[in-house]
């Protein structure tokens, strides 16, 4: 194995006045005389002055400091870190697609629009919804669109008092945050000991102010909400609507559809279930699907089809739309990748996704339980993910879920999601996805078993992990208190004490 990059200077520290990738610059032009001096910039911005090779080397080295799906198993619960097929990127980046202007005429976009229209149709089919808009740019953005549609629906009926959104206590933080952004009031309800929504608590919570309920199914607890039809009945009987958070759609893809469970509106995280890249924190795509009664409220634009021609549907076609949520049509290039992925899988591949994601999760859960780890919901089948709780290790060994997570990094595995859901103490939420082989799962299980033994014999070593990463545990308190959010040139002659301590 070659030299491992362990640290890399900040790019500004490579900067030399007068250096630059001059081959990339356009020809100089005479200074514009028509821009008044008062409106001009007086001093140049602080951008790096480096050669092209210096930039290439710097950013390539930075990339090597990351874990990623392409390099490491990444069982981050609730994030569906499955393989991102290279073909999806390659064919979404064909030059004509990249060059297409968002406001270009439909006559120069029939190929692109055909992909978008077919993507809408396929998403309707796999979710059982009646209409789809692709425009939301992330899961939380899709949630916003969904709750805004629920509000618009009640308003259009003159039902103005309905401003409460019911959210189970185990929900993603984006659910209550979204409800607030839509001007709603959040009402949290309890989850029963078996992981299902407490129907009595739900019955007591619904009423004339209920706008709707936001549910993830399978829930964030990694189990399928078995009484979903009762939930739907109770909420609908009270005049509310059901919102499906599609974060966990991968678990049921090809097996059961939110539309058939009674949901009125859903968002799909295309960067999870449909394998578009996570990109170090985006871009995502949060397409929304709706039942017939919410179709008039879908966000614009949507792709329509007249005969053999594809065209944009806008305000004129959907006068009751909640409106426009992005400057153009959302994350078009991400949508192309999702389209290619869905065509590669086809209906036969689609049916396998939920099956093998579930098989992998249940296999890991079974083996970890055999090895002595405690499942949070032992009486339940796992969905595509599951929770183990390390509360015993925390209590008896003073080794926490965070310590296990950090030590996993030393074993070459990205950590699972930690401390979420908040309901389960010292938890790891583990989602293997269908694209991982049994060999990888076995190696991960062995690593956890090894760490457990280490926690018993050498707990301080686990508590101090990681030991092999570019940095050790970081001082988050200092990060928040002594804010250093931008690089500043050091005064001449001074040295950075933190860099001076770097090992040779």
């Amino acid at each position: 194995m070659g030299h491992q990059v362990m640290n890399e200077k900040v790019i500004f520290e490579y900067s030399q006045p007068g250096r630059g990738a001059t081959d990339q610059w356009p020809q100089a032009v005479p200074e514009a005389t028509d821009v008044p001096a008062a409106l001009r910039r007086r001093s140049a911005p602080m951008l790096p002055e480096v050669s092209e090779l210096e930039a290439v080397r710097h950013f390539t080295r930075l990339s090597q400091l990351n874990f990623s799906i392409d390099t490491h198993f990444y069982p981050l619960g609730s994030c569906t870190m499955k393989y991102n097929p290279k073909a999806c990127n390659q064919y979404a980046m064909l030059p004509e697609f990249l060059a297409r202007h968002p406001l270009g005429p439909e006559s120069h976009g029939q190929g692109f629009l055909a992909c978008m229209y077919e993507l809408q149709e396929m998403l309707k089919e796999v979710t059982g919804m009646q209409g789809v808009s692709l425009t939301p740019m992330a899961g939380a953005h899709g949630e916003f669109a969904g709750v805004a549609m629920i509000r618009a629906y009640h308003r259009a009926r003159g039902d103005l008092a309905r401003n409460e959104i019911i959210v189970p206590e185990a929900a993603h933080g984006t659910n209550p945050a979204t409800a607030t952004m839509c001007g709603c009031v959040v009402r949290e309800i309890a989850v029963g000991e078996d992981g299902d929504v407490d129907l009595e608590a739900l019955q007591a919570a619904v009423g004339p102010k209920t706008a709707g309920i936001m549910l993830t199914n399978p829930s964030t607890l990694g189990v399928f909400e078995r009484r979903i039809e009762d939930v739907a009945r109770i909420v609908h009987a009270a005049g509310g609507l059901l919102y499906y958070d599609g974060a966990n759609l991968n678990a049921i893809l090809g097996k059961v559809r939110p539309g058939d469970m009674g949901f009125d509106v859903i968002h799909m995280n295309l960067h999870k279930t449909f394998s578009t890249p996570h990109g170090g924190g985006g871009p995502g795509a949060g397409a929304v699907g709706v039942s017939a009664r919410l179709m008039p409220f879908l966000p614009i634009p949507i792709v329509g089809k007249d005969g053999e021609r594809y065209r944009w549907l806008s305000e004129a076609d959907l006068p009751q739309s909640i409106g426009r949520l992005s400057a153009f049509m959302g994350n078009a290039g991400v949508l192309l990748r999702a389209y290619i992925y869905m065509r590669l899988l086809g209906r036969e591949g689609m049916a396998q996704v939920g099956e093998f994601a579930t098989l992998n999760a249940n296999y890991m859960l079974a083996r970890l339980r055999t090895a002595g780890f405690e499942a949070a919901y032992p009486q339940r089948r796992a969905s595509h993910e599951f929770i183990i709780t390390l509360k015993r290790q925390a209590r008896e060994l003073n080794v926490t879920a965070m310590d296990f997570a950090k030590r996993l990094l030393d074993h070459g595995f990205h950590a699972p999601t930690t401390y979420f859901p908040l309901l389960v103490p010292e938890c790891l939420l583990i989602e293997p996805t269908e694209t991982e082989s049994k060999d990888v799962l076995d190696a991960f299980i062995e690593a956890l078993v090894h760490i457990q033994r280490e926690a018993e014999e050498e707990p301080e070593h686990v508590r101090a992990a990681p030991h092999t990463m570019p940095v050790r545990r970081l001082d988050d308190v200092r990060a928040a208190k002594q804010l250093d959010l931008t690089w500043k040139p050091k005064p001449p002659g001074s040295t950075d004490p933190s860099l001076a301590e770097l090992p040779a």
Partner: protein, 457 residues
């Protein structure tokens, strides 16, 4: 086809370990009546060779016409290195850097990005990105209402010269929380907002004023006067700026006597392809005193247990996964990969390269405007100075002319009939450094013929 690696033997061993006889049994908790009967609406699978053929055919059908449309999305040269590195799996297939020790690459890059955006806008701090320019305006308005403690009204003044789609997104997003947007008309001769138009708001409780520079018409607003007017009245100023222009134009941090409160914009011009409108990214920068009101991720530099410098997500107490219903925004995933591209782009172009791009784009647009306004029936709309975009007025309806230009392989610009009918037949045109003198000639010739044909018809 689903990229599933399992052999039959694997499956048998795994089922045995679980203690079930089939994969089907794992779904026993799902009520039987809910199970999917068919996915007939999804086509059967294609292999990679077949999808390659299909996508190539569709891309070819769309072609690559000569494009003079801007209006918030700009074609610029992108160095090959930008996307060669951005699409490396280590950036492309990583996620939000929750495990800082295993994500130093992404985190350090975001810190470098925040530094560049802060400097480019002349502000003190930047977050790690928002979805796009339009949603950034919406988030800035919500932020201004939270941060402006001198105002209770939630009224936001938005000039008509702000991108019409940005105005719509702001209303659709922030309207749900009770924000009210009031339009400030512009001077139709100058194509810009005049301070006198704000006089009627004197003495009223206003939360923020949005100023776009250059505005939607490409015209330069009198940003100093507008900023000073607002700040003297405790009204927050939200600047909406084109990042390329900031290599030439005064940054928002220097507008008026003391600079603006929040600067936002779309980062697309910084190395992101047009790609039918996305993915792009939004940027947002502010004064240090408002950092806790910023939405989205922020990266900070700190030290590790050994005192070594390192990077981590910080100020997370603002965010949805901690604060839930009280978070500054519901944003979670943002546009990390595009920020990666933009950071590499800004590093390769450097201050001089970016200044050259701005100057060349501006010069090309002036040449374009000169060439097109020589055509009979075409004239420039406004007297004020512009940056790299301009409005032309026509003596006849635009739509047929644009259709005719398309026949010559030219996308002539954006017809303003829908959003600015008061201008009469008006066309928004843009040229960047990617257009040559020959391209501009080709457009002018095509326009001459199109106008001739239109007159004859």
């Amino acid at each position: 086809m689903a990229f599933i690696p399992h052999t039959e033997r694997d499956v048998a061993q795994m089922l045995a370990a679980i203690g079930v006889s089939s994969i089907e049994q794992l779904f026993e908790e799902i009520p039987a009546n809910l199970r999917i009967k068919s996915l007939a609406g999804v086509p059967t699978a294609l292999n990679e060779m077949e999808i390659g053929r299909l996508m190539s055919a569709r891309a070819k059908a769309d072609g690559r016409p000569l494009c003079f449309i801007g209006a918030g999305a700009y074609e610029h040269h992108i160095p090959s290195a930008v996307w060669a590195i951005t699409t490396r799996g280590e950036f492309y297939s990583a996620y939000t850097p929750y495990q800082a020790e295993a994500s130093q690459g992404t985190l350090q890059l975001l810190y470098e990005y925040q530094s560049m955006i802060a400097s480019l806008t002349g502000m003190q701090v930047s977050n790690a990105s928002l979805y796009d320019g339009a949603s950034a305006v919406a988030e800035a308005c919500l932020m201004a209402v939270r941060a402006n403690r001198k105002s209770k009204s939630q009224r936001i003044l938005v000039p008509t010269t702000v991108h019409p789609h940005y105005r719509k997104v702001a209303a659709a997003t922030a309207g749900n929380q009770g924000l009210r947007f009031e339009e400030v008309p512009y001077c139709t001769a100058e194509g810009r907002t005049i301070v006198e138009a704000l006089g009627k708001y004197d003495g009223q409780d206003i939360s923020a004023l949005v100023i776009q520079q250059p505005n939607f018409f490409g015209v330069l607003e009198d940003v100093d006067a507008l900023t000073d007017w607002a700040r003297a009245r405790h009204i927050f100023v939200i600047a909406v700026v084109n990042p390329t222009s900031l290599a030439m134009l005064k940054p928002p941090g220097e507008w008026g006597a003391n600079g603006v409160d929040i600067a936002v914009g779309d980062g697309q011009p910084l190395g992101v392809p047009l790609s039918s409108g996305g993915p792009y990214f939004g940027f947002i920068a502010t004064r240090m005193e408002h950092v806790r009101q910023l939405p989205g991720r922020i990266v900070g530099r700190t030290v590790d247990l050994s005192g070594r410098s390192g990077f981590t997500l910080t100020l997370q107490a603002r965010e949805q996964h901690i604060r839930r219903a009280k978070a500054t925004s519901n944003i979670c995933t943002n546009q990390g990969l595009l920020v990666t591209a933009a950071t590499i782009y800004m590093s390769i172009m450097g201050p001089q390269g970016l200044e050259r791009v701005a100057a060349a784009s501006h010069a090309r647009t002036r040449e374009l405007v000169t060439a097109l306004s020589r055509v009979k029936g075409v004239r420039t709309a406004f007297t004020s100075p512009c940056f790299h975009e301009a409005v032309l007025l026509f003596d006849r309806p635009i739509a047929p002319v644009l259709k005719s230009l398309e026949g010559h392989g030219v996308l002539g610009g954006l017809n303003l009939a829908e959003h600015y009918p008061e201008l009469g037949p008006a066309l928004l045109v843009c040229a960047t450094e990617t257009k040559t003198a020959e391209d501009i000639d080709a457009y002018a010739r095509a326009l001459t013929e199109a106008m001739k044909a239109a007159r004859a018809a």
